[in-house]
Amino acid sequence: MNVVAPERQFEPTSYHVKKSPEGAALDIRNFNLWYGKSQALHGIDMEVQKGEVTALIGPSGCGKSTLLRCLNRMNDLIDDLRVSGEIMVDGFDIYGPGVDVIALRKRMGMVFQKPNPFAMSIYDNVVYPLRVDGITKKSILDETCERALRSAALWDEAKDRLNESALGMSGGQQQRLCIARGIASDPEVLLMDEPCSALDPIATAKIEELIHQLRGHYTIVIVTHNMQQAARVSDNTGFMYLGRLIEYGATETIFSAPKKTQTLDYVTGRFG
């Protein structure tokens, strides 16, 4: 691999990040990614704090979704993809040799841009992560289903129709169902890839409310286009541009007194 270490954009920026008392859940160190010959991520350095909400903002094509999808190695599905650098979880590199990708994904729930419930009943959707784990005991599944749906603020709406097809729900409900599915196996990290971009304002408000509730229980990384949303829900915010992490810090700082002019231009709407 002819990986040339790219010049660092800035020295570890975490100094103004809101530190969690429990430390970092994910530690991304000098991470680079290439699609074929074009480099999509350049030397990302970032510590995601445990139990906090971290938002990634930036214009389209800046690599924020790519970075998010590296965290549970969803990018493995893409042919011709290369990475260098490290993403440390509990002291081991998830791109290191001998990593069990399936076990990794079980520790990371993921919610996608468009609601993607499976063509099964609501109940089967929620307990799917447990089923693929080989858990068949009805009591455990029932309990998990209720807990996950309650956490996703969907229990009251769904409890009477657990055996109906999930595809019959509204878009907002489907997205909350996907969140319930994402947290059903009690992961450590919840990755959210623009979870509200396909939803109307009311459904968006519900999801944001939900993120507030989940904060503290899970480490949440959310990619969003919507700067107000990032400001509302996150503790720390990373601003990405052209594959580089321009600035990363406490959300208030990023939105009120960013250190870089690019960030300032973006958050004030001057470009992007």
């Binding site: 994904r105 996608f112 419930p117 499976f118 063509a119 992560p129 693929v132 595809l167 509204s170 990755l191």
Partner: protein
């Protein structure tokens, strides 16, 4: 402005010359004002001329299919309706009786005109040299050596419909048209009485059915067991060596059992003979229109009715009883009469067996091609080859099936498992197993292509959702992709079924026969006989229409059988579509 006004500049080359005038008009109009410009807009811009072409193509297709279906349905439905019997007196004084079948107009040739008198020639000339003729189904093949006769208008003296003429459907020799000249009941001559004959005929048919049951089931079972003992003797010789003590011991046991079975056989045969003896004392003397008679047992008469002397409801009863006979009995008279039950059974069994083979094979292949194989040049070549397989003539599959399945595979199976039967083949010939495998091979491209499309249509987001939950690739396919793709895969299965059920050419080589002695499923172990040859509706159509001694006699049967085959395929497809729609509903859910 000019850009908007100049759509013709970008129009296709063919349309360009035609629209030159229009362009000039438009260009001129542009200077004059808006209103004119709108009036002279191009037809392809304001109207939908292509809609006519699309609609026309659809209409043409629908008309062709509807006309075909209407023809088959009409001809199929009227076949069993009882027709009147006409008695025709010819000018030379002879009589003939029969059902008028169809008529045509023709121009009598020189040799015909030569034998006619002046009055007849005048008739023809008045008609412009043409004459009409009617085809009568005279039946009575045993007396006339033909079933049909054309009668020209100029030969006809009188046509009447005498009420005492009956139509007799016989077990052998086809139908008979004529009167009852005498009735013998229990050896005693009796005067003809319709009710009495009806009663006695029913009783005689019961005797006939009993004889058939004894011969088929009881004697059939005895024969089956005797065959098994004979094979046991051969097997003992093959296994232990000729004249070895163990072989001799087993042979003696088998021979003892054969002797027992022979005694049993003789006993049953005695019973059959007794019934038959009794049956011979119930007879009917049939007389055709010119007085020639045929003496036959009453039990040989399957059905009889006074064609000109029955009401609508009697006709309806006969109509339905004929349909029932058609659907529930075996064929007789070289398949031109009787029923098609074995063919229905064979068609359904073969198609279902084919689905059992083609479904897993096609779906697994499609899964590999779409989900696992690297999408490169090689995969494309494989995919194109699979698609092209659908274009190989089906008879080629038949040849392959015969050579590979029947002779090679079947031959090996015989060598290994049925050596005692050799040189008679067990699996080493055409049979229902090889036929369904051949058809599975023929239809597998359809299933692969449809399954692949269905798999490709499963959204990527769903797969990602599953993988993100920590599911393995196989779990994702098994729980998320396959259920979602199932309706599409079912569509492929339906297409394959329709194709397979209607296919005839390859079957002629790998196991379909004109008349199968036994169904592939029966009460003898192992109940499902995959080695047996079978009958098939498609082949039945070919056989009756083109291979029978008299294609005119078989023609109605061709229509009825075609109608039945279509109905059968529609039924099978409809049930598959129902299952598919149920699956779709299950997985789609309603939107609110």
């Amino acid at each position: 402005m000019t850009d908007i006004l100049d759509p013709h500049a970008t129009a296709s080359g063919a349309a360009a010359p035609a629209s030159t005038a229009a362009r000039d008009a438009v260009a001129g109009a542009a200077q004059r004002g808006k209103r004119v410009r709108m009036l002279s807009a191009d037809l392809s811009a304001v109207g939908e001329p292509s809609l006519w072409a699309f609609g026309g193509a659809l209409a043409l297709g629908v008309i062709l299919i509807a006309a075909f279906l209407a023809m088959v349905t009409w001809n199929g439905l009227v076949t069993f309706w009882p027709k009147p019997i006409a008695m025709v007196e010819l000018r030379d004084g002879t009589l003939l009786a029969g059902e008028p079948t169809r008529s045509s107009v023709y121009r009598p040739g020189e040799n015909v005109l030569a034998r006619l008198d002046e009055e007849q020639i005048a008739m023809i000339e008045a008609n412009g040299g043409f004459s009409e003729r009617v085809l009568y189904k005279t039946a009575n093949f045993d007396l006339y050596g033909d079933d049909f006769r054309w009668v020209s208008d100029f030969d006809k003296a009188a046509v009447t419909f005498p009420p005492d003429f009956h139509l007799f459907e016989r077990q052998q020799w086809g139908t008979f048209v004529g009167r009852v000249a005498g009735l013998t009941i229990g050896g005693e001559p009796q005067a003809f009485d319709h009710a009495l004959m009806q009663r006695e005929q029913s009783a005689a048919r019961r005797r006939f059915a009993e004889i058939r049951r004894l011969e088929r089931s009881v004697i059939g079972a005895i024969n089956q067991r005797m065959d098994r003992e004979r094979l046991a003797i051969r097997r003992a010789n093959l296994r232990f060596g000729e004249d070895s003590p163990r072989a001799l011991e087993q042979i003696a046991a088998s021979q003892a059992r054969i002797a027992e079975l022979e005694a049993e056989f003789a006993e049953v045969q005695g019973r059959v003979n007794a019934i038959r003896e009794n049956d011979r004392r119930y007879r009917v003397l049939l007389e055709e229109v010119n007085g020639r008679t045929v003496d036959t047992e009453l039990s040989q008469i399957v059905r009889f009715y006074a064609a000109n002397d029955i009401g609508f409801f009697d006709k309806l009863g006969i109509y339905f009883s004929r349909w029932w006979e058609f659907l529930s009995t075996e064929p007789r008279e070289a398949n031109t009469q009787g029923g098609v039950l074995p063919a229905i059974f064979g068609t359904v069994a073969m198609t279902l067996l084919m689905v059992v083979f083609v479904a897993p094979f096609g779906v697994i292949t499609a899964l590999y091609l779409r989900e696992y194989a690297a999408q490169g040049r090689l995969t494309s070549i494989v995919r194109i080859s699979v698609n092209n397989l659908a274009g190989v003539p089906s008879i080629v599959y038949g040849v392959f099936g015969l050579g590979f399945f029947a002779y090679t595979m079947g031959g090996s199976i015989d060598q290994l498992f049925f050596p005692e039967n050799l040189p008679n083949p067990t699996f080493g010939k055409g049979g229902i197993l090889w036929a369904s495998l051949t058809l599975a091979l023929l239809t597998v491209p359809v299933v692969i292509v449809a399954s692949e499309e269905a798999l490709a249509a499963v959204p990527r987001s769903m797969r990602e959702g599953s993988l993100a939950c920590g599911a393995s690739k196989w779990q994702t396919i098994r729980y998320v992709v396959l259920p979602k793709a199932l309706p599409g895969i079912m569509t492929g299965m339906i297409l394959a079924m329709a194709r397979g059920a209607g296919e005839v050419a390859p079957l002629m080589l790998v196991g379909v026969v004109k008349l199968a002695p036994a169904l592939p499923v029966d009460g003898f172990f192992p109940f499902l006989h995959l080695d047996r040859s079978f009958m098939h509706l498609g082949f039945h159509i070919f056989d009756v229409g083109f291979q029978s001694r008299n294609s005119e006699a078989g023609k109605p049967m061709v229509f009825v059988t075609t109608l039945l085959l279509l109905a059968l395929i529609v039924t099978m497809n409809a049930s598959a579509v129902t299952i598919r729609n149920r699956l779709k509903r299950k997985y789609a859910g309603g939107q609110f």
